[in-house]
Symmetry: D2
Subunit: 186 residues, 4 copies
């Protein structure tokens, strides 16, 4: 089984990336047979979606590469900050390009959404917007979502969550999601 992780925050020291590391560790500890790969969106830069460009030049090379990366992947774990009460626009632009391939490359993937933010809400509103394009494209977005509030005070120096309860919740959710992904039929 193949899992792809990526962060919609592009910052190098992003709290969202830290969440992905923890989710990845939980999988590796419990599912040695699973192949987890991290993808950096900075390696997949695309121009603004423009129907005229699509007609004259076709889909961007980075969209082609991203799409190939999605092939054979059963599950995605995505960590996203919240920008202006919604998802980061740059990723939706990537999503818009990718969804020009037929069938939808997102189709039938299992998706787990995580979120970290410095505010008290934890980025939860952004995730609810983010579900929509994925579900429209027939991805199976896991109902449980992990939202980490006050992210700047949440990690210890080794990158673990200071709250044992939160650390446990993230691990449990990740492993439940793996169970869901492995048994997904449709």
């Amino acid at each position: 089984m193949k899992v792809l992780t990526f962060s919609l925050s592009l910052r190098k020291d992003s709290y969202n990336k830290k969440l992905l590391v923890l989710a990845t560790e939980a999988i590796k500890k419990n599912h040695s047979e699973v192949n987890v790969e991290h993808l950096d969106l900075l390696d997949y830069v695309m121009p603004a979606y423009d129907g005229d460009v699509e007609v004259t030049k076709g889909l961007p090379e980075a969209a082609q590469r991203f799409k190939e990366k999605l092939e054979g992947v059963e599950a995605l774990i995505i960590a996203s900050p919240e920008y202006n009460f919604s998802y980061p626009g740059h990723f939706k632009n990537t999503f818009d390009w990718i969804s020009r391939f037929q069938p939808f490359p997102w189709s039938n993937k299992a998706v787990l959404l995580l979120s970290a933010s410095m505010g008290l809400v934890g980025g939860n509103r952004g995730l609810w917007h983010l579900r929509v394009p994925f579900e429209y494209c027939n991805a199976f977005v896991y109902p449980g979502m992990f939202s980490l509030a006050s992210a700047h005070q949440a990690f210890d120096e080794a990158g673990a969550l200071l709250s044992a309860e939160q650390q446990k919740r993230l691990e449990t959710m990740t492993l439940s999601f793996m169970e869901f992904s492995k048994n997904l039929k449709y």
Copy 2:
């Protein structure tokens, strides 16, 4: 396996109820082992949710019965009209009462959402709002949703969809949903 269906339109001749009949037929034809039961929300009338009433009188008897009906059910098929670009309020009131039980009686159910409306949009916006409380309560809402526009012109006298393509799409989606429900692990 046990499936429960109900319509958020309370009308006797509701187009949404007709969709449920078609989905039920598709299941029975292909999965004789599955037990499909239709529930009429008119049999589960509840007062407006009021925290004071909950404290003094407890949960309504109809909420208790509804909750018991949900026990042992693996999948729900719900057909909903769209009221004012969102879901029907009366059902959300029922939902609000039911969600006072712990653990959430909706938790871990597979849910398929259908919608019929006389307008051109088919009730799709209402379904997107309806996903949220279900997903919050850990239900697995199927990404595909069936929206029937111009519902008053869509059925023949025997209750089948006049469009063979739509009829096929509804059947295919229902059977895919059954596959999903039967294999659901978490």
Copy 3:
């Protein structure tokens, strides 16, 4: 000018009702000419919306009274708890009945949304769902919304907000909303 306030929490000691009292005080202190009336939804109990009932019996008497209450009102201040990441269902049922009158009784009203909750998020997600039916019915929902988190620790014994900053923010928002309402043209 006439302002109507009501709480979507039906509890007698609702934190949402306390917010309405504070908003009302802010108006009375600054706009003695404005008539602010509080309406208790418990006085407007309606059955579940049912198209068959509408055809055979017409709109409920309570819907008729509510609609009359809305006549001549320029602005609404509504305080709402969040139930299951959305708005309270019972009020949407009331809304669904009321919206059967033509033209929409909600049309062209200015609306301010407040929210109090015991959680850390303050009910904000419920308000975003609540905007949709109002805006569909041509109400002018003020962009600013006041969300009070940890409501059970937020009030002093006299009913004021313990945080002077929050108290100020609520007053400022209410007065800005009054300015907006008084000048509303369309």
Copy 4:
């Protein structure tokens, strides 16, 4: 008074741009004193929002120019296609950059949203997502939104809407919005 219009579809022959032309004509015919300017988002290309880039290089030059364009503007008319049941990602990326200025450059603008799409729904779902970041940033998004379905069959050769009723509705909505914008106080 100053109005800015722009299309979230970047296509040269975009149906959304055609809607903006019609809205602009309606304003010019009725409000000769109003200055309406059209902005082409292709002149404001920005990289993906990245907090590290913001720290090291500051806000992009195009974000600076866009922000200056917004100064002194009272109203925005935005036409948007629907991509994957939500708004176009590239514009949200622009929005995310612009919202890094304080105070929000979107704040207190009146905003009218239009949408054209070749489907039967007219792009309406995308507009409901688009409202959220604007309203979060204190823009006054007009409740009425104009959604044009089957846009590829909707215009005559001169660019007017073939349906006199739709043409009238667009004009009426635009002029009501102008009334709203001119009287906006807060």
